[in-house]
């Protein structure tokens, strides 16, 4: 099964396409336009491992600000119904800085560094670290994105550190287990339109992403595959639908697979 999936990914890379880099599960090395503001709502329904009929709902409203051509800041709020009621469990600040860019027509190679500072009050219930809705802590990483006419490919590498969560919810695993390496590989393809004639045309993109983590102390890992479909409307709105599931599943999570639905709206020249 894993071999079939990996080969599908390789075929994807070889197929004729105009690539897209606005990935669903990861951020590319490119930046938002300076002085633009974006609003995002990311909703996930994650299936519980212990009870396959139970799904945890997570919602993350997000405000994104393009500070300059090279840097941007996001503010995120984490809502979850994991403990029966939908409550605010925390938030995060995400900052990205593009430090390298070589552009040609329909092409670029870019690199960016990012950091996410998260705070969460929920109980720690899994050894896998997730700073986007489960753990307090810091994540710092590097992203490299290559856009060539036909394909957009992106990879990232990050260090993640889990602090104790708020409201007395400590990190319940050994202290040495607080560090992990996160890594991702993403590819995107523009399916529609076949030719561009207007900004009002709906763009449809297909993405396939690999999302992984290895605990620095235990060496346990997970590696998820996350295919997704994206619609871009009027060249300023995004609707993303995705599904992620584990291919390697040694590093345990309480809900390890599920759906994602995201809505995004961008305002250019906002300030």
């Amino acid at each position: 099964m894993r071999i079939i999936l990996f080969n599908t990914l390789l075929c994807f890379l070889g197929m004729y396409a105009q690539g897209q880099e606005l990935y669903v599960y990861t951020e590319p090395a490119s930046n938002m336009a300076a002085k633009s503001i974006g609003f995002r709502l990311t909703n996930s329904l994650m299936q519980q491992v212990s009870n396959k009929e139970q799904y945890n709902f997570h919602s993350v409203p997000e405000l994104m600000i393009g500070i300059s051509k090279k840097s941007m800041l996001h503010g995120q709020v984490f809502l979850s119904n994991r403990n029966t009621k939908l409550i605010t469990e925390g938030g995060a600040l995400y900052y990205k800085y593009r430090f390298f860019s070589v552009d040609e027509v329909n092409k670029h190679f870019r690199m960016a560094a990012y950091t996410r500072l998260s705070y969460n009050i929920s109980d720690v219930h899994q050894p896998a670290i997730d700073l986007f809705g489960h753990n307090s802590g810091v994540e710092t990483g590097v992203i490299a994105t290559q856009l060539i006419k036909k394909v957009a490919l992106s990879a990232s590498l990050a260090h993640m550190y889990a602090a104790d969560n708020g409201k007395g919810n400590k990190f319940i695993y050994a202290n040495n287990n607080r560090n992990a390496v996160g890594y991702t590989l993403s590819v995107g393809k523009l399916m529609l339109p076949k030719t561009y004639t207007s900004y009002n045309q709906t763009n449809m993109n297909l993405m396939v992403e690999m999302l992984g983590q290895t605990n620095w102390e235990t060496g346990s890992s997970f590696l998820d595959l996350a295919p997704s479909l994206q619609l871009i409307l009027f060249s300023k709105m995004r609707i993303d639908v995705g599904y992620r599931f584990p291919m390697i599943n040694d590093l345990k999570r309480t809900a390890d697979r599920g759906f994602l639905l995201r809505l995004e709206y961008n305002i250019f020249n906002a300030f």
């Binding site: 897209q20 336009a33 300076a34 051509k69 860019s101 092409k107 763009n203 871009i232 060249s235 250019f268």
Partner: protein
């Protein structure tokens, strides 16, 4: 007194009308329409811009300006870069009224200083197309190739050197290096 009026009239004639009627620029680093729209909106936010016609497939933007508006190439380039991309080519339609071009001439024109890199000596009349060859307006490959077209420092620095003072340029003022197409 008559001399003073005459000088003022000449200066007004030289700087009065907008002599750059249209700019066409191609951006690099993008393929998607949302990226193109970011550049489109960024260019439209300039006060002197009348209209922007975008071609998403070729990443080109045809910019027309308001009547008598001054045009600044660096301002256009900054708007593309603020959107997150770069300029790979910028050409301008320029109206010349009996302008004499000498080799390596530094010409104050339409509110900007132009240095014609490789044109032969001639008198320019009517609408001509020029391309800006400065750093950030062409690919680094083309920029390096063009470095041999002039021995002057200003192509590397983008500003007038002290040697240009004899033709009336203030040292340190912005110099655009262009070629006739």
């Amino acid at each position: 007194m008559k001399k003073l009026f005459f000088i003022i009239a000449v200066l007004m004639a030289a700087n009065g009308q907008a002599q750059i009627t249209k700019v066409s620029l191609q951006a690099s680093g993008l393929t998607c329409s949302m990226c193109s729209n970011a550049i489109n909106k960024s260019l439209k936010s300039l006060d002197n811009v009348e209209k922007v016609m975008s071609n998403i497939s070729t990443s080109t933007f045809e910019i027309s300006f308001k009547n008598n508006a001054a045009v600044n190439f660096d301002e256009l380039k900054k708007k593309v870069e603020d959107a997150g991309f770069f300029v790979s080519k910028l050409t301008a339609d320029v109206f010349f009224n009996n302008v004499k071009l000498l080799k390596d001439e530094h010409l104050p024109f339409a509110g900007m200083n132009l240095h014609f890199l490789n044109g032969k000596e001639q008198t320019l009349n009517g609408v001509q197309q020029i391309q800006v060859l400065d750093k950030g307006y062409v690919s680094s490959k083309i920029y390096k190739k063009n470095s041999s077209l002039t021995p002057m420092d200003c192509y590397k620095t983008g500003v007038a050197a002290a040697c240009c003072a004899s033709s009336g340029m203030i040292a340190g003022s912005r110099m655009y290096h262009v070629t006739l197409l």
